[in-house]
């Protein structure tokens, strides 16, 4: 499933995403602690978070995440959007909670894709 398909299926709001919406999503990671996301997210994951500030973009770039989904009706800060455009990191938002976004992604089979990918040794 691509970022664009996830956006459509979950009715996400596109905050920035002129590019890279066709990237294949390998799974997801939920976290609001940046070091945790740095350590445990996988390339191609969507990152579900409440964080909205500019530093989330660098994490997504360094971990090659497919997109950031900001939950609970929060919106990215202005500098975050600017940086996202510079670095070409799609940012989407939702009024849903992290639990509901993750649940729906699993229902769509995104969690299964990750489980399959993880059988391949790193």
């Amino acid at each position: 499933m691509t970022v664009r398909e996830i956006k459509q299926q979950l009715g996400l709001f596109l905050c920035w995403g002129d590019e890279k919406l066709e990237h294949k999503v390998t799974g997801g990671y939920v976290g609001d602690l940046l070091s945790d996301v740095m350590a445990n997210s996988k390339a191609g994951n969507v990152w579900i978070t409440m964080q909205t500030h500019v530093n989330i973009v660098a994490v997504a770039v360094l971990k090659e995440l497919a997109a950031i989904i900001i939950v609970n009706g929060r919106h990215p800060a202005e500098e975050t959007l600017k940086k996202a455009a510079e670095e070409k990191v799609p940012i989407l938002s939702s009024t849903l909670s992290a639990f509901d976004v993750a649940g729906r992604l699993y229902f769509l089979g995104v969690g299964k894709a990750r489980a399959d990918a993880e059988r391949i040794p790193d």
């Binding site: 602690l33 940046l34 070091s35």
Partner: protein
């Protein structure tokens, strides 16, 4: 590649807006040099965590990135408060991050342990009121 490749970056304390820039540039260089993605991931984690600690706790630092045929080396030398108890600072979960930093998602106390986990050689030296120096080496083969 025979000769080693080297680049230096300056990191400013409290500069949250540019935080992560050095690590992002290093990652770009490694990709251009077609380094194994698994190695790039480890270097990215180690350098990002070191960079963020400078932004959060120190005044400024020089980050020197060196790559030879056999290893990647990161040396982060900061001017800052230093670390009074390195054993404590190395413990997972230990953090002196302010509540403001924690709200931004920093302060899990995972940065130093993550750096150590992702490097093959990890050396931390610190002098209180002077600064901290980290030397991390990641083997390529």
């Amino acid at each position: 590649m025979s000769a080693s490749f080297s680049r230096s970056f300056t990191i400013e304390g409290r500069d949250f807006l540019n935080a992560g820039r050095a690590s992002t540039q290093i990652k770009t260089i490694l990709k251009e040099l077609s380094v194994d993605p698994a190695i790039i991931r480890r270097v990215a984690i180690a350098s990002y965590e070191a960079e963020m600690n400078v932004v959060m706790y120190a005044t400024r630092a020089k980050l020197k990135f060196t790559m030879s045929a056999s290893a990647i080396n990161l040396e982060i030398d900061d001017e800052g408060p230093g670390i009074p108890d390195i054993t404590l600072a190395m413990q997972e979960g230990y953090s002196t991050a302010t509540s403001q930093m924690r709200e931004l998602g920093f302060g899990a106390g995972m940065g130093l342990p993550n750096m150590k986990k992702n490097s093959d050689e990890f050396v931390i030296e610190s002098a209180v009121s002077k600064g901290t120096r980290l030397t991390m080496t990641i083997y390529i083969n």
